[in-house]
């Protein structure tokens, strides 16, 4: 019972902080939309081209937007000692990581369910099957959140190299991009298989992320 209280307390705190810094979150989404616009400028407002590559552009931009949330994951709570306080209240670091991942998914990823159709309108993509796009994002977004969490946890004590966190996200996200975009553009036969593969990757990451992140966080706390 006490554990559940502690978990709820952390959730409430995270949402309150997010709400206080709402412009922070909105900036991230604006980054995404401006990215779409930049693509229009760089490629030209050509409907045929966007019909073919639009989904790829959208998914790539989602990935790049996630780079911006890298520091938000653990850095602040690590710097002021809050992570230790969470731990001292009786929660294991794995549980803390899981809570952070869920919060991040709810706050950052869910709005994309609105942003993806919006960008689809902007790029004039013919959405044959909005359901498949949502399924692919539903499966792919937890994976992206997990990858961002891993990179965030690894880079807690990294004060020199700011790009490496994004590099880690990018290289680990290659399968997600390939299968998420592939799922949308594919034929009926292989769709089931691809959904299974994506689900498999999702479960794999959900399983290893709390463990990997807590190792990195414990190390960072020790060596501060």
């Amino acid at each position: 019972m006490k554990t559940i209280n502690s978990i709820i307390a952390i959730f409430q705190r995270e949402f309150k902080i997010t709400y206080r810094n709402f412009s922070d979150i909105l900036s991230i989404f604006l980054f995404f939309l401006m990215g779409v616009m930049i693509f229009v400028f760089s490629i030209g407002a050509n409907d045929d081209i966007f019909n073919q590559i639009g989904i790829g552009i959208i998914w790539t931009l989602i990935l790049l937007t996630n780079n911006l949330t890298l520091r938000k994951f653990y850095q602040d709570d690590f710097n002021d000692g809050s992570l230790v306080i969470f731990h001292l209240s009786g929660l294991s670091y794995e549980l803390i990581v899981l809570i952070k991942i869920i919060v991040n998914w709810l706050v950052i990823q869910i709005p994309f369910f609105i942003l993806i159709p919006i960008s689809g309108f902007l790029l004039n993509i013919e959405f044959f099957n909005i359901k498949i796009i949502f399924i692919s994002f539903l499966l792919g977004s937890p994976i992206t959140t997990c990858i961002t969490s891993i990179s965030g946890a690894m880079n807690l004590l990294n004060k020199k190299n700011f790009a490496i966190g994004s590099l880690i996200i990018m290289i680990l996200s290659i399968p997600v991009i390939i299968f998420s975009v592939g799922l949308i553009n594919t034929s009926e036969e292989s769709m089931g298989a691809q959904i299974n593969i994506l689900m498999g990757i999702m479960f794999l990451f959900l399983a290893i992320t709390p463990w990997v992140c807590s190792i990195c966080i414990k190390l960072a706390i020790q060596e501060k």
Binding site: D80, G81, V84, G90
Partner: protein, 207 residues
């Protein structure tokens, strides 16, 4: 009872803690002194299982805190040299968070009277980012009352506090010990607390 046995901690080639042992029994207050860099904060981190010593063990009620950390945490409040209150939340929201996080049985009324004592009541609805350094430190110390734990581990609690607040903290510590609690804190200034056991880290340097 908190027991530390021959704690050794090295960072690289530097011996920071050299076979430190201590016993913190109920009603006892220990003041750890030492100049900068002698390992005061390191010792506290080892006592609270944040850091692992190179040699030696720490026991709480007979159980090794590395093997049974959560049993230890149930009785521990650790106030660090950092302040963990979130600058984006109000004083009240931080307090509410701590109450819920630690499943405290303190009522809001009790807390509000504490805030009053700390001269923070008028800032109840202010964001922590608008408070002064001393006020933020005072807010952090409110955790001691909220968490209601037996062992208090405080890292430099007096920094930033005015005389009134310092006296208040001292009274709180004395009262806590009187009720059977135990306190260990670091400070490089002398504390106005009677019956204090002093642990001078420099004495252990040539162990």
């Amino acid at each position: 009872m908190l027991l530390a046995n021959n704690i050794v901690f090295n960072r690289g080639n530097k011996k920071i803690l050299n076979k430190i042992s201590l016993t913190l029994s109920p009603k006892k207050i220990i003041h750890v002194t030492g100049n900068n860099g002698t390992g005061k904060t390191t010792l506290l981190k080892i006592l609270t299982n944040v850091l692992e010593p190179n040699e030696g063990e720490v026991f709480w009620d007979g159980k090794n805190i590395k093997k049974y950390p959560f049993i230890f945490y149930k009785d521990l409040t650790y106030i660090m040299d950092k302040t963990s209150s979130n600058a984006n939340l109000t004083v009240y929201e931080n307090i509410y968070f701590w109450i819920k996080l630690f499943s405290s049985s303190r009522s809001i009324k009790e807390i509000e009277s504490i805030l009053d004592l700390l001269s923070l009541y008028q800032h109840k609805k202010s964001l922590v980012s608008s408070l002064s350094y001393g006020e933020i430190k005072k807010l952090e110390l409110a955790r001691l009352i909220i968490e209601q734990k037996k062992v208090w581990v405080l890292d430099e609690p007096y920094i930033g506090l005015d005389q009134i607040s310092t006296n208040l903290i001292n009274e709180t510590i004395i009262y806590h010990a009187k009720l059977g609690g135990m306190v260990i804190f670091t400070s490089h200034i002398t504390a106005d607390i009677p019956n204090l056991e002093i642990l001078q880290l420099e004495k252990y340097e040539n162990n």
